[in-house]
Symmetry: C2
Subunit: 354 residues, 2 copies
C-alpha cells in the first residue's frame, strides 16, 4: 500500500445541482449518477484517490438527505460510517471544509487533506494522480494549493484563477492572485490569451493546521462554530447559524499563500451542463455522441442520452436530446446552460419532475 | 335530411402509411389517429359527408386487418356491416374504386359516388361542402370530377393536376390535361406561377356508370375481375391477380372528360408528413405548436407532439418533436419526409416499433 499515513481526503458530496435535468434531480443529484458509464461520479472520485488515501482516512461531507444513497454507493470503499459527515442544510463549501478540517485535525495534527468535489469528471486519472502528487508536496510546505486546469477554450461557465509568478524552482506552480467569477465571453478570450489564467477546479490540498489558521483569520464566525468543536450534536445545533459561503471567496481570495498547480490533459470537466459532458466524450465521425437506442438519419454534432425507447434523430445539427422516464429535454447544444430555467419553471409550478 | 338518395360515398381506408411515425404504425395507420383533436381522421371524413350522404349509402374499403378498428370507429355513423369492404391485400386505389363502383352500381344504377381518402385533414368543412356540391353537379353531367386544391406554396410532396380551360359557364371548373407526379422544387415553382396547376387531392366524384365505363376502357383487367362480380367470395379469390395501380394513372390520365373543381381555402392537407400537419395547425406568436405538456425556453417554429411526459424545448428553431410511449422522433422540420427512412431502418431490423 503506497497510501500516505498523514494524507486524508474530504469529498464534498452535498451538491443539489439540476443542470443535468432531466437525469439529475433534487433527490438524485449528479454525483450519484453514472455519467461516464463506470459507476457514479462519486464512486469515480473515490476510485481516483484510492491509490493515495486509505478508506479509513476518507471523509465525505454531504446532506443528511443523501445518507442512504451515499452509504449504498460507497460501501465497497471501506469508509467508516463515522466519516460520513451529514450537513443539516447545504451551506456551500466553507463550513463543510472547516468542519472536516477540524475533525481531521483532532485525529492527526499533521494531516494533509485533499478536498475534492464528488461530481466532476476526470477522464485521465493517471495524469490527475501525478498532478495531485505535486499538489501534496506543495501542501506539505504549508501552501494552500489549488488545482488549476489549463484552459482549452474561452469557457464562460467556469471560474478562473488569475496567477502571478512561477515558483522558485521554475516548476509550473503559480501564486494565485485573484479568483474570477464566470466571465463574459470577451473576458474569457482575454484570459485564454494571457496564459496566466486557469480554470478553478474546486480541488484543493492543504494541511488541516494551515487551513484552520486561515479560517480563524478570515472566517472567524465559521471557525468559532465548527473549527474547534466537531461532534454531531454540536454541529446539528449550530449549523443553521453558519453563513452560506464558498471557501474560494471566504478564505482563498484573502489568503496570501495560495498556489495553483496547473493541470494539463487530465480530461477534467465540472459537468456543469450537458454541453460540458459532450465535450469530454468521444464523438463519432459525424460529431455525434449516442447513448442508448438511437437511429440517426443525417444528424451531426448531436448528443443523445437515451432511456428505454428508440430515439430517431433526423437532420439535426448541434442538438442535445435527453430522455428520462418522466421527462424529455431537447435543447440547442449551446443553450444547455438554460436547462436551469426549465427546472426553475418546474419548481415554480411545484411539479414532481425536479 | 338533405341527403340525396342517389348519392353514395366511398371512403378509402386501407392506407398503411407510417409517415406519422412514431405515432402512426403499421397496425395503426394515420386514418385511425386523432390528429386534429376531434376524433380520428376517418371519423372526421365521415362527419364531413354526413350532411350529404346517409350512413346506409356510405361504403368503406379497407384492409381486412383493420376490420375491428374500423367497426369500432364507425359505429356511431350507422354504416351497415355489409358496406365495409375488406381487401385481402392493398392494391392501390384503382381496384378498390372499381370494386366499390360495381357494388354501388348494382344497388343504384343512377348512383353518383364521392370517393374520399380517409386520412386527410380538412380544416374548413363548410367550404369543403360547397366545393363538393359543385363537384356533384358536374358529376351528374357525366364528368369525372376531381377536387383540385389551389396551391399556396411550391409543395414538392404532392402530385399536381395540369388543367387547360375554364368551363363554359366561366366558373372555375377546369379540364384536367395531365397528372403530374411529385415535382422538383423548381418545377413546383413554375407550376405555382402558371396558375393552371392544382394539387391532386385524391378526392373524386363521378357516376358509377361513368367510372365503370372508363375502367372497362382503360383497365379492362381490373374491370373484368371486380367491375361486374362483387361478392366477397369471388373478390377474395381474384384479388391477388389485380394489378397494384392508382385510379389517377390507371384511368384518369387517359380519360377525356376529367375536370377539376378548384378548392380554395378549405384547409386541406394530405398529412403526408409531420411538417404538413404543422402547416395546417395554428402556431402561437413564436411559431410554435405544442400538444401535450411542453415547457419552452426561447424556442420558435417548433412543433411538439407530446405524450405522457413533460417535454422541455430549449433554444430550438424549426424542430419537430414527437414522443410516443415506445419511440421518440426529433427531426429538423424540413426533413420530416425522411421519417420514412427511420421506419425503413426499423423494418429492416425487424423491430417492433414500426
Amino acid at each position: 500500500m503506497r497510501t500516505n499515513k498523514h494524507l486524508y481526503a474530504v469529498i464534498l458530496a452535498g451538491g443539489t445541482g439540476t443542470r443535468f435535468w432531466p437525469v439529475s434531480r433534487k433527490s438524485r443529484p449528479k454525483q450519484f449518477l453514472d455519467i461516464a458509464g463506470k459507476g457514479s461520479l462519486l464512486q469515480g472520485t473515490l476510485e481516483r484517490i484510492r491509490p493515495k488515501v486509505n478508506g479509513s482516512r476518507v471523509f465525505i461531507v454531504t446532506s443528511a438527505s443523501y445518507r442512504k444513497t451515499i452509504e449504498r454507493q460507497v460501501s465497497r470503499f471501506k469508509i467508516p460510517k463515522a466519516n460520513i459527515m451529514l450537513e443539516p442544510q447545504g451551506k456551500n463549501t466553507a463550513p463543510a471544509i472547516c468542519w472536516a478540517a477540524a475533525k481531521i485535525h483532532r485525529i492527526d495534527p499533521e494531516a494533509v487533506m485533499v478536498v475534492l468535489p464528488s461530481d466532476h469528471l476526470i477522464a485521465h486519472p493517471g495524469k490527475f494522480s501525478r498532478v495531485l502528487g505535486e499538489a501534496i508536496s506543495l501542501a506539505r510546505k504549508d501552501y494552500l494549493v489549488t488545482l488549476g486546469i489549463v484552459p482549452t477554450r474561452p469557457e464562460t461557465g467556469y471560474g478562473y484563477l488569475q496567477t502571478k509568478t512561477k515558483n522558485a524552482e521554475g516548476r509550473p506552480v503559480v501564486h494565485v492572485e485573484k479568483f474570477k467569477e464566470k466571465p463574459s465571453l470577451s473576458k474569457a478570450r482575454q484570459f485564454i490569451k494571457r496564459k496566466n489564467y486557469f480554470w478553478n477546479s474546486g480541488m484543493f490540498v492543504w494541511k488541516s493546521s494551515v487551513i484552520l489558521g486561515e479560517f480563524r483569520k478570515y472566517l472567524p464566525g465559521v471557525y468559532r462554530l465548527v473549527g474547534t468543536k466537531v461532534g454531531t450534536a454540536h454541529v446539528q445545533k449550530v449549523w443553521r447559524r453558519l453563513p452560506n459561503i464558498s471557501v474560494d471567496y471566504g478564505v482563498l481570495e484573502k489568503a496570501r499563500n495560495v498556489v495553483a498547480v496547473p493541470a494539463h490533459g487530465i480530461g477534467w470537466s465540472d459537468l456543469g451542463s450537458w454541453e460540458s459532458l459532450r465535450e469530454v466524450l468521444s464523438p463519432d465521425q459525424q460529431g455525434n455522441i449516442f447513448k442508448g437506442d438511437v437511429i440517426s438519419v443525417d444528424s451531426k454534432n448531436t448528443f443523445v442520452w437515451g432511456g428505454q425507447k428508440v430515439i430517431a434523430a433526423v437532420g439535426l445539427d448541434n442538438v442535445i436530446i435527453v430522455d428520462a422516464p418522466d421527462a424529455l429535454l431537447v435543447c440547442r447544444a449551446d443553450r444547455s446552460q438554460s436547462v436551469k430555467d426549465v427546472v426553475s419553471i418546474l419548481q415554480k409550478n411545484n411539479r414532481p419532475e425536479t
